[in-house]
Amino acid sequence: MATVPGCFVVTPSDLSALFGILDELGYRTLGPTVRDGAIVIGEISGISDLPIGITDEQGPGRYRLRDGVAGAWFGFAVGPQSARAHLSPPERPLLEIRSRGPTLEFVEPEHHTERTALFGIRPCDLAAMEVQDRVLARGPHPDPRYVAARDTTLVVVVNCGVPADTCFCPSTRTGPRARSGFDLSVTEVVDQTDHYFVLEPGSEAGVEIVERLEHRPADRAEVNAALATTEAAVEAISRSLPEQLNGRLLAAADHSRWDEVAARCLSCGNCTMVCPTCFCSDVRDTTDLAGDTATRVQVWDSCFTLGHSHLHGGSVRADTRSRYRQWLTHKLDTWWDQFGQSGCVGCGRCITWCPPGIDLTVEAAAIVGGG
């Protein structure tokens, strides 16, 4: 059978050499691993760190690990974490000001950007990185630390065959198959008789990795089998976000649904903390006990805190209704005006990891549908 250019087949035992190759190329590897009852993103060094044979059951406000297809490397959907913590750490020092007699010394901490391979991130998370790029790398005020981390990050994306109940990436056009933006794309094909990976390099680094792996050109049937896994994922996804929300949510600013959702919302901020595109941060200035050193630190913030909208005289968004409305209208509506696209990539984390299970697809539909 004819082979397909640019597509390669690698067996599981051969792909396990990838971790050593990434190490040789000077990358530390972050990837999916089980911790605290969830699949999180952590440092991994081999296949024994992967959640092999494990799947996740997700619903609004609910996440459970279960036994999945035996031997499958990627039989699960996204966990609570994305690439965000790697590219913009939750807390990072920005500046230290030291008193030196009559003068002040300003010291910016050195940033150690370690070459990092993000292994096994999903197409929605890759899309989220591109959303954040527009804000933090390609806007009028690029964040040099984000840019440095992004430039030294290698992306091995894994296309999704087993979506969660909370996923809705087909409606945001951000998955379940990645089209671009990766160094290497991996699709797992696993059934009763076969288990292999179809690899597609998306950059020179990706080509080099494939060359170092034991591989062979993929034939048409193998590529079709890979495409069938993501097509099946599309079929399995039932949630969807209403299209073209730009202008429509803000127009419904006085809808009674905002009051209903505020009655359920804990204002805890979990949705914004797990969202892969949220980028708000707070800057904290403190001094030490001796009074001769001031420190400026940047931390993840959330539009659900009162401090986030604190202006002269108090918080502009003092009630939960206005804070939830801010989160949803910015994410789905005014993000278009600001950045020319939606701020939502359909990963469903805000639905799963909201303790009361508030579902933004349901809320958005109710608000723009007039319901």
Partner: protein, 251 residues
């Protein structure tokens, strides 16, 4: 330059929050260099008379003598800051507020007639003006150092008022309510502990009291969904911060 004079006072409390100050081992020498520790009986019997630039107050008001004493402390203090759940919310001893004090006295003491106590345990701010309240049972060492550092240079302390959840997610924890159905007060509790309990697979006990924005009706529903009955919910909310209006269920 004269060093600011610091006093540390104890009312009804377990001393744990004062102990947090003594526990600042790496910073104690610097602190002693920066301030004149003029009154701190847990640390030293040596003390000097007021007035004091800064008074740190631990404990709640549970006797009429203490109600008088806190006024005298206020009168000799420049800044007065309170530390811990007792001083800021009345402490665990505020459980009496929803009970009959006579019942408690006869149940606990062999000779209750020798006990002179008020029927309520109240925070310091119910009695005198307080310049800053530092929450927690016990308080967090890092927050205490931040408060002292701020007082020394005359700036506002950087103490967050939002939920524990933000710091829990910053720490990389999967939510225990979602992943393991563990009842957790994190969403309604003020941060400050560094999400200690959820980081150890336990639910938050609410040691730092109510966060800036609390939706208790929704929180109670979530606790019920995760297996707590009315008695369990009542017990979870009525511990160290039972006296805090948003937490206490005085019924």
């Amino acid at each position: 330059m004269n060093r600011p004079r610091l006093a540390v006072w104890k009312f009804s409390s377990c001393d744990g929050c004062q102990l947090t100050l003594l526990d600042c081992e790496d910073e104690l020498l610097e602190l002693a260099h920066r301030v004149d520790i003029a009154y701190f009986l847990e640390a030293t019997r040596a003390h000097t008379e007021g007035p004091y630039d800064v008074s740190i107050v631990e404990g709640s008001i549970t006797t009429s003598d203490d109600a008088e004493r806190i006024r005298r402390v206020r009168a000799v203090s420049g800044k007065l800051v309170t530390i811990g759940a007792c001083a800021t919310a009345g402490g665990i001893q505020a459980l009496r507020n929803a009970a009959d004090i006579g019942d408690y006295l006869s149940a606990v003491y062999a000779a209750p007639e020798f006990i002179s106590t008020l029927d309520r345990s109240t925070p310091i701010s119910d009695h005198v003006d307080v310049d800053f309240e530092l929450r927690g049972c016990p308080i967090d060492k890092g927050q205490l150092l931040e408060l002292l550092s701020a007082l020394l240079v005359g700036r506002r302390p950087d103490i967050a008022r939002h939920s524990v959840c933000l710091d829990c997610k910053r720490a990389g924890n999967p939510c225990v309510m979602v992943a393991t159905d563990t009842p957790c007060l994190g969403p309604v509790t003020q941060t400050g502990c560094g999400a200690l309990c959820p980081s150890l697979d336990r639910g938050c006990f609410g040691c730092f009291g109510p966060a800036e924005s609390v939706n208790m009706a929704a929180m109670v529903g979530q606790l019920r969904d995760r297996g707590l009955d009315d008695v369990g919910i009542h017990r979870l909310l009525n511990t160290f911060n039972t006296g805090a209006p948003a937490f206490g269920v005085e019924s």
